[in-house]
Symmetry: C2
Subunit: 318 residues, 2 copies
């Protein structure tokens, strides 16, 4: 199998790139069921054009926060497996997440080798420990170093969290550091606070300009939110939701529809402020729950935001 097909798309700043984010099924279901779940997902995506899928690696993040997780944590299938199934069935690239902290370097090495072949993973996002507490067998920086020693030509990405920028003001420097460690693109946490994302993108663009570097592609994640429980879950995940936005969603006659309008307005604001900064952007739309109405809303949101970004990019070319 050849190299990453996404690399070439990512390298063209005149185009947006568009993904659907999803999580592997819980580990208690059989591989036959995993395959069925993949079929069902792709059937739902049948009417939309997308560049690829993103498969997360869900960790038990309870060490990060004292509050109970609104949806109970469950171990999932290895993201490599689900990623391979989705790539095979859809014929499209799949960006695969991998949490590195719980296993040793040797185990990570082996995971990487098998991810490349037979699993066919080419686009990989490494995720560090959710908190500095608990045992970290392999820190993220060492995982990046391991990647550099590998001859496998992964298209490597990192996560970026605008909320960290809002609190510490240095997330743009982390992007540069991760780029030096090999990251070619970044995927954000779900955006509900556009100002934090705008500040991050603006700082990143300035810093790149100062250092004479080309900004990497940043894929912004958006997700619909249709209930108080999903909202609680977002907050548990560390997604910053301004108070007024919470009120708008909770008080709406149709919370899901209201969250779509909010996401669209948030993207509009980000594009207004950052569309001309020269940072190539992308979108990743995920549904945080498996509720049918939230998945359908994610597809509506996807179409709306993709057209919004495509239109902005076309306008910038005039």
């Amino acid at each position: 199998m050849s190299d990453s097909k996404l690399k070439q798309k990512f390298a063209d700043p005149s185009r947006g790139v568009y993904f659907i984010g999803t999580t592997p099924p819980k580990s208690s279901v059989s591989m036959a069921q995993v395959s069925d779940i993949g079929d069902k997902l792709l059937e739902r995506l049948g009417k939309i054009d997308f560049d690829g899928l993103i498969v997360y690696d869900i960790q038990d993040e309870s060490s990060r926060i004292d509050k109970p997780r609104p949806f109970p944590f469950m171990n999932t299938h290895d993201p490599r497996d689900y990623s391979a199934i989705l790539r095979e069935k859809s014929g499209r690239p799949v960006i695969t997440y991998k949490s590195v902290s719980q296993r040793s370097r040797e185990e990570f090495d082996e995971w990487l080798d098998r991810a490349w072949c037979p699993h066919g993973v080419r686009d990989l996002v490494l995720v560090g420990s959710p908190s500095s507490e608990g045992e970290i067998k392999l820190p993220l920086s060492q995982a990046y170093a391991t990647m550099k020693e590998h001859s496998l030509n992964f298209n490597l990405g990192g996560v970026t969290i605008a909320e960290r920028h809002a609190s510490k003001g240095d997330e743009h420097l982390r992007l540069l550091e991760k780029s030096a460690q090999g990251c070619e693109f970044f995927v954000s946490q779900a955006v509900y606070n556009p100002q934090a994302t705008i500040d991050l993108l603006s700082s990143y663009a300035r810093e790149c300009k100062e250092r004479g570097l080309t900004p990497k592609r940043i894929i912004l994640t958006f997700t619909p939110c249709g209930s108080a429980k999903t909202l609680e879950f977002m907050e548990w995940l560390g997604i910053s939701v301004p108070q007024a936005t919470c009120h708008r969603i909770l008080d709406a006659h149709n919370p899901l529809g209201e969250s779509i309008r909010i996401c669209r307005n948030n993207l509009d604001q980000i594009l207004e402020a950052c569309g001309g900064l020269g940072i190539p952007l992308g979108l990743n739309i995920e549904s945080l729950t498996n509720r049918k109405e939230e998945i359908d809303a994610a597809i509506r949101l996807y179409k709306l935001l993709k057209a919004t970004l495509d239109l902005k990019l076309a306008e910038l070319e005039l």
Copy 2:
């Protein structure tokens, strides 16, 4: 080879369909050169997502009008040939135009058979005589009748001319008549007079509702115009360009850019008036000349208008 792949896409009213229109190379060039021209075109289209191509059948329309043709008429290669080459190279469907009036029914029959196989044409638009003068060996209505007798399952389309609606007020009835004759979709002449298109679409939607019929898909054609000569050619082709629009293009510092802004505004007006009428729409962007800057402008126009229609359709789903 299987049936038309476009049929299924056309049948889903929630999605737009997007085409690039082009003409076959002149008949004096060799097939090797035709192949090179196809490569060059597809290379230019490499960065955009499109559902297919449209290959026109250029007629000598001098019987229709007294004025000399601004760009001299030249015979071209058979649209079947160029269509097969483009389909093969791009892996995408190609809608092939065919002028029927100059040849006998037997010749048309034979053309159809070979178009189906080996040429692989599945999506076909028949075009009648440009004027009622001159010998018509096969009227359009008889060509449609011939199609019905064929067992070949073409996805048949027709042309529609909003300018005819502006002058005669009955183009919506022609759409219904052509549908009864087998047309499953329509492609418009280039739009520069949005009101004529709005009136046509509005009349068509009302008539369909009254008769309890589902409106067919209508693919609107847009083209950039970067010079007085192209503008003159558009007028020669019968495209209605309001006076103020001519002035805007001719007086602009950058006529090509101005024509793109005009086209976008025209599509906005059409979608504002007709987006909610239940007529599934599509876009076809063509370059009327082979000038590099007009072709590049056509690609910019394509991206802008596709995102505009996609956004409107996504908004309608909210």
